[in-house]
């Protein structure tokens, strides 16, 4: 047993070497889960620093920053959270860098017969939505609030789980645990055909705008600014386009 220790130590050393240190050339980015595909792409092309990402619900990431976490960049699936953090003096002035569309997503192989919002009211239909605190959940509630009260309550009746981020909703959908869920159109694209998007009527569509800000006291301020610039015009913008994001909506 003891002879295994040098081997274990060697494995550890290799693993640690592989992870690399977090020296001055790293840029830490806290970003909304829905940005994962686009930003991971962008991170690979970003040259000023080695970008490291922490993806979670925007609300969780904002709470971490409020509790003293210091990533270099905060990218949120709404503009409310970066604005709040700006007002609290925790981040530099945020900019809106992308838009997205909320859609109804169903598994591509589904036989639940869901073709529109109307079908969500059927008893026995199962739904996954975001929790109230995460942007995707609050956009979903905006959509539902624009429906007649009887319809929205019938739909809420069918909700089986309130997930902390879009990854949770997508996971429940791809596993067939629910018949439908509300996610962004870019999330559906990222599943590579496993999910199908059903567009919402234009009158119900909420304005989905993504805000980004450099965190005050960022260790790597220059790289952080370059990263944000690239999202507005450059490799980041291109990665966002490829992932199915839209240009930032007019304010």
């Amino acid at each position: 047993m003891w002879r295994a220790i040098p081997v274990l130590a060697a494995v550890w050393a290799l693993a640690l070497a592989g992870c690399g240190g977090s020296g001055d050339d790293t840029l830490t980015v806290s970003a909304a889960t829905s940005l994962k595909t686009a930003l991971t792409q962008y991170g690979g092309r970003f040259e000023d620093a080695k970008a490291r990402f922490s993806f979670a619900g925007s609300d969780e990431l904002a709470a971490q920053i409020r509790k003293g976490a210091k990533p270099d960049v905060f990218a949120s699936a709404n503009t409310k959270l970066p604005d709040e953090l700006y007002d609290e003096g925790l981040v530099e002035r945020p900019v809106t860098f992308a838009g997205n569309r909320l859609v109804l997503a169903v598994p591509a192989s589904s036989d639940a017969g869901i073709a529109s919002l109307r079908d969500l009211k059927k008893p026995g239909t199962t739904l996954a939505i975001g929790s109230e605190t995460v942007p995707v959940g609050s956009y979903t509630r905006t959509v539902l609030s624009r429906l007649p009260e009887s319809e929205s309550s019938a739909i809420l009746e069918n909700v089986r789980t309130q997930e902390p981020d879009v990854a949770g909703i997508v996971g429940k959908l791809t596993q067939g645990a629910v018949d439908a869920g509300f996610v962004y159109v870019s999330d559906v694209r990222a599943t590579g055909g496993k999910l199908k998007a059903i567009e919402l009527p234009e009158a119900l569509q909420p304005t989905v705008a993504y805000g980004v800000a450099v965190v005050k006291g960022a260790k790597n301020g220059d790289a952080a600014e370059a990263f944000v610039d690239g999202l507005l015009d450059g490799d980041g913008k291109q990665a966002l386009d490829e992932a199915g994001f839209e240009p930032p909506p007019a304010q």
């Binding site: 969780e60 709470a63 997930e163 902390p164 949770g168 596993q175 645990a177």
Partner: protein, 261 residues
């Protein structure tokens, strides 16, 4: 004083500090008034009730199947025993996310056995029980096996030579004699079940009153209501500590035989 005892004392001090400061901070950061307020909040009591119900059912299942299984593992030598023990203990070292994926892959609607049962477990209270049982059962079985193994063989042999069947020996001698060890396993498994997060979220989802246990409710609050999250954490610490303590007292007082150790 010689250096080694100093090293021991220093190590204990460091361990104690590191392990208690986060727990203490939960209580230092919440006033009792906030604690009460957050418990009165919609969803908090639902989560607490759900956690207690689901973990109790899970524990019942674990004891029912785990105790005889542990007895078999402790008393028999057979080919592949080491492999069986390793398989039983494996969930101990699985990350909760892996447990969640595994449960979905096995029992989810698209899972290996999903056709028949999938939709009755995923996103249901039964699914929570299933996740809790999966992650916490090894804690009990492992401890129960050790407790049975450390029993004095002569007691068991005496029981057998006096004509008792194995079933009777198991029920009347082994279980009472291993009582404190079984209880310790129970407390560990219970604590693990109360704290389960990842597998529950992936397999059973998060819905108030149906599948949102206390850890999931804490996570939901973290983003917007840190105080509420802290208060709920304090309650969970309290419940878990009470559990651990009552087991220690019960077995310490020798009410359950306590001969195993």
């Amino acid at each position: 004083m010689r250096p080694f005892p100093l090293v021991l004392a220093g190590s204990l001090a460091v361990s104690l500090l590191f392990l208690t400061v986060p727990v203490a901070a939960i209580f230092l950061d919440t006033s009792p008034a906030e604690l009460v307020r957050s418990l009165g909040e919609e969803g908090a009591l639902d989560a607490l009730r759900l956690s207690l119900i689901c973990s109790t059912i899970a524990l019942g299942l674990i004891v029912l199947f785990g105790t005889p299984a542990a007895w078999l593992l402790a008393t028999r030598r057979f080919r592949g025993r080491a492999l069986v023990i390793t398989l039983v203990e494996l969930p101990l070292v699985l990350p909760p996310a892996v447990a969640g994926i595994g449960l979905l892959a096995a029992l989810g609607p698209h899972g290996v056995f999903g056709g028949a049962i999938g939709n009755r477990l995923v996103l249901t209270t039964a699914g929570v029980v299933c996740a809790l049982t999966f992650v916490s059962a090894p804690f009990y079985i492992r401890q129960a096996q050790a407790a049975f193994e450390s029993l004095d063989r002569t007691w068991l042999d005496a029981s057998r030579t006096l004509g008792a069947t194995e079933a009777r020996t198991f029920a009347r001698i082994a279980i009472p004699a291993a009582g404190s060890g079984l209880l310790a396993g129970l407390a560990l498994a219970w604590g693990r079940a109360l704290g389960e997060f990842g597998a529950t979220l992936m397999f059973a989802g998060s819905f108030r009153g149906i599948t949102q246990t206390v850890p999931l409710a804490i996570y939901e609050r973290f983003g917007t209501d840190f105080t509420g999250a802290l208060a709920l954490s304090a309650v969970l610490v309290g419940v878990s500590a009470a559990l651990l303590l009552s087991v220690k007292l019960l077995s310490g007082a020798g009410w359950l035989g306590g001969a195993a150790r």
